[in-house]
């Protein structure tokens, strides 16, 4: 590692030594995000105290040609906050003020280091909440959510981070401080806010965010239903949609996931059933009740073997505890696991689950499934034992599952992002020209390529040269679309 001493001195001077960490023991805490398989130890970590300091730090990096990586809570699951060699990490951990809660206009202005759940906590006294709810909401930051365009169980009805951010103050890669978006949905020209949201920290560093707040719904109704097969549970989801109902959330878990969750938190799930659905409706009482009755009928019509309706807020919380524990809980039934994140058109859920099961059998590995059934966002958990030498096989299986999602007309990622992890898989989903134009956007914001380089878009250095000149879009190759 060799950060040029002159550059280093300039960057440290931009903040003052108190806000710079270079002790190797301490910088170790920044060497990876939630995807711990990738690690790069940063030489220095900057921990600025306000937006102006972020701008000064970025300006110093820009002037000296030093790459930089923004970091929130480090819960990302795609290696987005992975440091770059010879670069610096800029942590937003100290920008954690809730600057304004405006109940009349139903919005809040916060700094990027505020956690997702703290926004709702600050708004709750006014009967308001911040809708996007990633499972990591207790710790992940809103700055990270903006970068990843994070989603959660309730995004089926309410939309993703991009639908709830009105404006951001951003330090551009040259250190200029600008605002993207505004006080209403009206725009001055192309929606730069929209393209920045979900750009995974590659277009600049967010220093202030204006989020929309929603009025808490009048009622919430939640049920947990068991089914004799994953296919039947899938049918239930289809029928709910066909009935014109937009549930707040529809989550599915399979046998393995149920077993793991139940072992971990004893939330009242039935161990041994092939599939369970969590369905939640919310809204004005009359409508919610009418639609909830319909959902119950649909469940019964598909051979539901047990229907548990949350009778109190505590019971509802227990159902969600089981669902949200499922990820970490598989650690109880397997020494190691990979979390995958792919999306298929919802109508292909049964098909994709069948194929995942076959692929797991072939690889001799177990796959647990817990996912957002309403929007087709899968989170297959590939279980393996590193000690038994299964790591490579598991990694291959996990990657193959993501690529299967693309083959079925879906996406490589529904919420965890591309980051470092899937950059080299991007050509499976987009053609060469598509990626080249995405690169134009990146270049427009960051011509020097200093802001979180090596993430999202594949580079020859990372992924090897691809032969030939033009690579068609994958859907073109499969005959689904015609280019010209």
């Amino acid at each position: 590692m060799a950060l040029d001493p002159v550059a280093r001195a300039a960057i440290v001077a931009a903040l003052g030594p108190d806000d710079v960490v270079d002790d190797p023991v301490q910088t170790r805490a920044y060497e990876c995000d939630g995807l711990t398989g990738y690690r790069v130890r940063p030489e220095i970590v900057l921990i600025p105290r306000d937006a102006e300091a972020v701008a000064r730090a970025v300006k110093a990096c820009h002037r000296n040609g030093v790459p930089f990586v923004a970091r929130g809570a480090g819960t990302g699951l795609s290696g987005g906050a992975l440091p770059v060699a010879d670069g610096v990490v800029i942590s937003l951990a100290r920008l954690k003020r809730v600057l304004e809660v405006d109940p009349v206009n139903r919005r809040a202005v916060v700094e990027p280091g505020v956690t997702n759940l703290e926004i709702t906590a600050a708004a709750a006294a006014h009967g308001l909440y911040y809708a996007p709810d990633p499972s990591s909401q207790q710790v992940c930051t809103i700055g990270g959510n903006v970068a990843e365009n994070s989603g959660g169980a309730h995004c089926l009805k309410y939309g993703f981070t991009t639908n709830h951010v009105l404006a951001m103050e951003v330090v551009l890669p040259d250190g200029e401080l600008v605002t993207l978006g505004g006080d209403s949905a009206e725009q001055l020209g192309p929606d730069l806010r929209g393209v920045f949201l979900g750009s995974e920290g590659t277009l600049g560093i967010t220093t202030k965010i204006t989020v929309r707040l929603l009025r808490t719904p009048e009622t919430v109704r939640t049920l947990l239903a068991d089914f004799p097969s994953v296919a039947e549970a899938g049918e239930v989801v289809s029928d709910i949609v066909a009935a014109g109902i937009v549930p707040a959330a529809v989550e599915m878990m399979d046998t393995l996931a149920i077993e793991a969750a139940e072992e971990a938190v004893h939330a009242g799930y039935t161990v041994g059933v092939p599939a369970a659905l969590v369905v939640e409706l919310d809204g004005p009482i009359e409508q919610c009740d009418a639609e909830f009755a319909q959902v119950k009928e649909i469940c019964d019509a598909h051979g539901c073997t047990r229907l548990h309706i949350a009778g109190s807020p505590e019971e509802r919380a227990a159902i969600w505890r089981g669902r949200k524990a499922a990820f970490a809980a598989v650690g109880r039934i397997s020494p190691d696991y990979f979390v995958q994140d792919g999306v298929v058109p919802r109508t292909r859920l049964a098909e994709v689950l069948g194929r995942i099961a076959d692929m797991g059998d072939e690889a001799g590995l177990r796959v647990a499934n817990v996912f957002h059934a309403g929007d087709g966002n899968l989170h297959p958990l590939v279980l393996y034992s590193a000690a038994a030498g299964e790591t490579e096989r598991a990694e291959e299986l996990s990657g193959a599952i993501a690529e299967l999602c693309v083959e079925l007309g879906g996406s490589l990622s529904g919420e965890h992002g591309i980051g470092t992890d899937k950059a080299c898989s991007m050509p499976k989903m987009y053609g060469e020209e598509d990626l080249a134009v995405m690169k134009r956007v990146r270049d427009a914001f960051d011509p020097e390529g200093l802001c979180n380089p090596g993430k999202v878009l594949p580079t020859p250095r990372l992924c090897g040269e691809r032969p030939g000149k033009y690579r068609p879009h994958p859907l073109e190759e499969s005959g689904v679309i015609e280019r010209l």
Binding site: D102, V104, N105, G127, E148, G151, G159, T162, N163, V170, L172, G182, D183, S184, A185, E186, Q187, L188, G189, P190, D191, L192, R193, V195, L197, G198, R215, V241, G244, I245, V246, P284, E286, Q287, A290, P345, R346, D375, G376, N377, G409, S411, L412, S413, G414, E415, H416, M429, Y430, E433, L435, V437, M438, R440, V441, D443, A444, L457, R483, L484
Partner: protein, 375 residues
């Protein structure tokens, strides 16, 4: 449109291939046109050599009712698409006034238009999940996809939203759909703007979940509820009680009052129509300060459309800007020389850099962002 009308080439491609050939074979500057329902919105088009008419790119490509997504050719009139989708009990949750005039999907995206239900469903930027775009150098780019949840790659459709034909030709658009509400009701209160703002505040603080809250300069507040049939009477009843003695339920689903809203949004003949967005609580104050005739004011969204005398446009931009908001000129008298935009956004340099990378020779939509000089 052109100061050399006689030499203006018109092309109407029927496929992506033809569109690409047209862009590559045509020398000079090009105006990208849809149905023409917003041809004079934003900055006045400068000199162009050709018009690329997108209405030949029409029709549904794939509609998967079970997935609630549809991909369409961008020149498809949204009205026609909605008719098609209605057969399946689905629609695009989008109700800008000019849909009824035949506006195309691509044109609606490019002009960032929106209607009253943006309060709940957002604008088209929130409903477009994928796009195929043709750039002026012939590059064809696909972004997003066919699934509602997708974070892979940069969301280029967002850049096209509000681009007014300056960055690329939208060729195909993939949209997220919603079920058509089974029953719709609208409560009307005859009142002035100040009273409407007070009542809107109460409705928005309640848990009644209105889909639209709009005041019209004819002196009416409209509050719309999308619902199931069973629940609608009770929901309207509670809303009416909240709004007080002056509140009545509009006949049927309120089609007539919403038609009045759409007419006001289109603006008065001979007036300059300005679209405004500010913090919702500031909207009444801003509107009171303008010499506006026809007004529709989204009291939950902060978005209003007003008809002004042409001479008042520059001052109106300034007043909106002073309130922290944004404004853009829509229809106007042909001979009006008024700025289309107020002061530029702080990220003007990025807008210029994006334009430079997407359309380096400045071929598409010259003048649309004047006086900022990015197109």
């Amino acid at each position: 449109m052109s100061d050399r009308e006689g030499t203006l080439t018109a092309v109407k491609p029927a496929s992506l291939k033809e569109a690409r050939e047209a862009v590559l074979d045509t020398a000079g500057r090009i105006s990208i046109a849809g149905a023409g329902t917003a041809a004079d919105w934003a900055g006045r088009l400068g000199h162009v050599d050709a018009v690329l008419d997108t209405t030949g790119l029409s029709g549904v490509i794939t509609h998967n009712p079970g997935d609630m997504t549809v991909s369409v050719h961008a020149g498809t009139p949204l009205r026609a698409l909605q008719e098609e989708l209605a057969k399946h009990g689905q629609h695009l949750s989008f109700d800008a006034a000019r849909v009824a005039d035949g506006a195309t999907v691509g044109g609606l995206v490019a002009t960032a238009d929106a209607g009253p239900s943006a309060l709940v469903h957002g604008t088209l930027r929130d409903l477009v999940i994928g796009a195929t775009t043709l750039l002026s150098d012939g590059a064809v780019v696909r972004s997003g996809g066919h699934v509602i949840k997708n974070v892979a790659g940069f969301d280029l459709a967002k850049l096209l939203h509000g681009s007014y034909g300056t960055l690329g030709v939208l060729v195909e658009v993939v949209l997220r759909l919603h079920p058509v509400p089974k029953a719709i009701g609208t409560v009307v209160v005859e009142c002035d703007l100040a009273e409407a703002a007070r009542l809107a505040g109460e409705v928005l603080a309640s848990q009644l979940e209105p889909t639209a809250v709009e005041w019209l300069s004819s002196g009416r507040l409209l509050v719309r509820i999308d619902s199931t049939e069973e629940a609608l009477p009770a929901r309207l009843d509670r809303l009416t009680r909240l709004l007080g003695d002056a509140a009545t339920v509009a006949d049927g689903d309120g089609t007539a009052v919403w038609a009045e809203h759409a007419a006001l949004t289109r603006g008065e003949k001979g007036a300059a129509v300005l679209r405004i967005g500010v913090r919702p609580s500031l909207l009444p104050g801003v509107l009171e300060g303008l010499p506006a005739a026809a007004v529709t004011a989204g009291l939950g969204t902060g978005v209003a459309t007003v008809s002004l005398p042409g001479t008042a446009v520059a001052e109106a931009h300034a007043a909106v800007h002073a309130a922290g908001g944004t404004s853009v000129l829509r229809s106007r008298p042909a001979d009006l020389d008024a700025p289309a935009w107020g002061p530029p956004p702080s990220a003007l340099a990025v807008h210029k850099a994006v334009k430079q990378r997407f359309d380096p020779d400045g071929r598409f939509g010259p003048g649309r962002f004047d006086p900022w000089e990015i197109s």
